[in-house]
Amino acid sequence: MTFLRVFNLVKRFDSLAAVDGISFEAEKGEFLTLLGPSGCGKSTTLRCIAGLETPDEGEIYIGDKLVVSRSQNVFWAPDKRDLGMVFQSYAIWPHLTVFENIAYPLKEKKLEKESIREKVKQVLEMVKLSDFADRSATKLSGGQQQRVALARALVYNPQVLLFDEPLSNLDAKLRVEMRNEIRNLQKKLGITSLYVTHDQEEAFALSDRIIVMNEGKIEQIGNPFSLYFKPRTRFVAQFIGQTNFIAGIVQTSDPRGTQVIALGTSIHFDQKTEMKEGEQVFISIRPEYVRLNPQGKMPYQFQGRIQHAQYLGSSGLFYTSVQDVPLFVEIHDITERDLLFLPKEGDWVTLGFKPQDCILIR
């Protein structure tokens, strides 16, 4: 059952379209992430859903309710949308205690004192801050403030939970800890959640599905697996993990696959594309799938020269050039014996790959 629906959302600032016509849906209980670089429109989208920005075009439904539509002249104020939100800067009120911060939304709903105390206690336990109820909000560390913010967003059981890059201000270790807690809590409570981040790893760890955005538009929607192994655009291939792009020209394209001329040969891919002969296409291959001096014979092999080599412990990075095309190779699980055979800068090496490890992208 879809629970959150966004149709054709457009939001402009002066003449620039920060959000340029996007649509997506979230299922009930789903953890959906908006992922993209700075300025891609993900925060603006979130804020439109929250009611902190007013879209110029488009509709947003939360549950069955139409909460905003310019064309139909509908706008529900943020305090009437039954949402919870966790901000990047935590937004904990310094003049209130931890208890008062969390109890605030319940007070606005005019609940009974006893009921408020019960709920706050429950939620403090959930975020592991039971002993902090009476502490002044200013005397908390970053991580603790973030938990209070989370508790405050959860205490009144909103329909949808919004997260605006909540972990960016925490240090690396705390970030990992907090994201696990967020994920566990969300799963336990089953609240539909929309999360915004620019950190690909974070998005992968938390989400059921990810919406990759760039320059106000959606590039691709999918689960982490499909985004990593089947990127559909160059942007997604580059933004998610790392990849090499080899430019080529389509020779033929039919139900048996696609034939591409690249690196001086004709390569067959099983992937079916709707491209025409003569069109330019990019072969995207992740660095861990390019083999360096392979033992057996690979379907396609090329000679190249090492430009730059970095040995990093159990892995190594090799920047090579094959017919002036840069190819970047990553080797994992290097053992002591391998060290003797690792190529150095200036060496000529053989590089190979299998077509099934590649993705053809327009």
Partner: protein, 564 residues
């Protein structure tokens, strides 16, 4: 289904902005109008430049322009190096007690310069000045060495009073300077003294220049000091000339308007240059972090720097208020002090008997407390409109409310005089017109106080409250107001002090019954009643001190940080 519509908060804010704009534009408009027309508003007349011609060919106008410029230049040239020196001493050297000195150097801000000029008159009048007589005896002189009733005298008093302005500007710059700039110079081989001269001071140049222009411009608009020290001798400056035009019979309001326009032009030009000067050269020394700069060890010399700072404080605070305190306990002032003349009668008069004075004290308190509050209320709403909303055209309100920075108080008052003289509302002649003039004059101060606070708070604190279910008004009440309270109180203290001290604005709008303390002092000086003057000055100073202590007790914030 709830629809989008004009919401009440926006309407309230726009109303406040409209009122603020009206306050600024109305007197200005009338001033321009009055200076260019042949008759008073409401009477038939024509456009003319005659007023300007008459005003600027009138008797004594050219000397008054010259005097004004001499005073502006002289004061700026002296207060600049002294302010720089004091700032350097308190932030960059190991002078003892420098933390205390840092705060004390700001005390002259609280004092009314007019009162200071009266006090220095008591000290350095050529015949009976106490300090003169003391020096004459000490050095066996036949004539008094100093005559304060002269243009150099005016420069002296103004320098003592305006040095804290320079000091504050440069202090801010020094404190925010990244010490690694100086450290880099020292590693390159530059001695401490050379580093100060070649790195530290040049980096503070925007602040120094800025401070100089502000002092320069303010001197043009000062009334009390030249009125007391050189007007009795027949020497005028622009402000006293304007006053004269409004006080003679028949009143020459048009000439007053013309000269006011000239004064306005000088101020506006100065502020324009000050803005340009800051924009171009904002060296990236101010990063927002507070640094601990390296201190220069002065060795024995640090006692000298301490002595110089103490001397400054002596001359600007202790001597003038000392003599006032003394004279306030005397029966009459003739230059002699003897035990038989001691009395509490003056205080009795000032606080309990003289109705006019008591009324003046009441008026001052009313205007300063209520006027300060209203000004802040208005600027709070306008600041919120400018900073937190995206209403088109809000930049216009920002510009307009900061405009009074470049308008001397007397100019506003003359404009108001014109505006209200034929106005349907009977505001002219009441205490309300004084309050309106003060609020208009000090709008920029209120705006500064709130913009800083609001910018620091960040919008998320309110946004999260909205998401949690608070309406706009509930958020304003429960989240914003408690967080803005320290800024509000600090702004209120500042306005309280500024309103209590103000003279040049009130003197033009003075009418029997709406005197404030500063105007009452002016009248008492005219009557030659110095003991009462002294007593009332002390009372004024005590009220200001009391106000500060009261507000500090409520807020417990660092005073010197807020004054900026």
């Amino acid at each position: 289904m709830p629809k989008r519509s004009w919401n009440l908060p926006i309407v309230v804010m726009l109303a406040a902005a409209a009122v603020a704009s009206f306050l600024v534009l109305y007197p200005l408009g009338y001033l321009v109008y009055g200076s260019l027309r042949t008759s008073l508003p409401g009477d038939p007349g024509a456009l003319t430049l005659n007023n300007f011609i008459e005003a600027f060919t009138s008797h004594k106008i050219l000397p008054s322009i010259l005097n004004t410029f001499i005073i502006m230049l002289g004061t700026t040239l002296i207060s600049c190096p002294v302010g720089l020196f004091l700032a350097w001493v308190t932030t960059r050297t190991d002078t003892p007690f420098r933390r205390l000195l840092e705060v004390l150097n700001l005390v002259p801000f609280l004092l009314c310069p007019y009162v200071a000029s009266v006090a220095w008159g008591l000290l350095l009048s050529p015949q009976i000045g106490l300090l003169n007589r003391f020096l004459m005896e000490l050095f066996h002189l036949s004539e008094a060495p100093f005559d304060i009733f002269s243009i150099p005298g005016v420069i002296w008093v103004l320098f003592l009073y305006y040095t804290p302005y320079m000091y504050l500007f440069i202090l801010g710059s020094f404190k925010a300077m990244d010490p690694s700039m100086e450290e880099a110079a020292q590693i390159c081989g530059s001695s401490v003294g050379k580093t100060t001269l070649k790195i530290t001071i040049p980096l503070a140049t925007p602040a120094i220049l800025s401070g100089c222009i502000i002092v320069f411009v303010h001197c043009a608009g000062i009334f009390g000091v030249p009125a007391h020290l050189i007007m009795p001798k027949g020497e005028y400056v622009l402000t006293t000339t304007i006053m004269r035009f409004t006080q003679v019979y028949p009143q020459q309001y048009s000439a007053a308007a013309a000269v006011s326009m000239f004064l306005l032009a000088i101020s506006a030009l100065g502020i324009f240059f000050q803005r340009r000067c800051i924009q171009g050269k904002e060296y990236i020394t101010v990063t927002g972090k507070a640094y601990r700069p390296r201190l220069i060890r002065l060795g024995k010399w640090r006692y000298l720097t301490l002595a110089i700072n103490i001397l400054y404080l002596l001359l600007s605070i202790l001597l003038p208020y000392g003599i006032l305190l003394l004279v306030s306990f005397l029966n009459f002032w003739s230059g002699d002090i003897s035990a038989e003349l001691l009395t509490l009668n003056n205080y009795h008069q000032v606080l309990l008997e003289d109705e006019a004075i008591i009324r003046a004290i009441r008026n001052s308190l009313f205007v300063s407390i209520a006027g300060g509050f209203l000004c802040l209320l208005m600027t709070m709403l306008v600041s919120y409109l400018i900073i937190r909303t995206r209403i088109k055209g809000r930049g216009f309100f920002d510009y307009l409310t900061m405009l009074p920075v470049g308008i001397p108080g007397m100019v506003i008052a003359v404009g108001l005089l014109w505006a209200w003289i034929r106005a349907p509302m009977p505001v002219y002649g009441t205490i309300w017109i004084i309050m309106i003039a003060y609020i208009t004059r000090y709008l920029p101060y209120g705006m500064r106080a709130f913009s800083n606070s609001l910018l620091q708070l960040g919008p998320e604190l309110e946004e999260s409250a909205r998401i949690c279910g608070s309406s706009w008004f509930a958020t304003f009440r429960k989240i914003l107001i408690p967080l803005l309270k320290p800024g509000f109180m600090a702004g209120w203290i500042l306005l309280f002090i500024l309103f209590m001290r103000e003279l040049s604005t009130a003197i033009v709008l003075w009418y029997s019954g709406n005197e404030v303390i500063s105007v009452q002092l002016f009248q008492l000086v005219r009557d030659g009643n110095f003991p009462s003057v002294a007593a009332l000055s002390i009372v004024q100073a005590l009220i200001i001190m009391g106000g500060i202590l009261f507000f500090r007790w409520i807020v417990k914030e660092e005073f010197s940080e807020k004054i900026r």
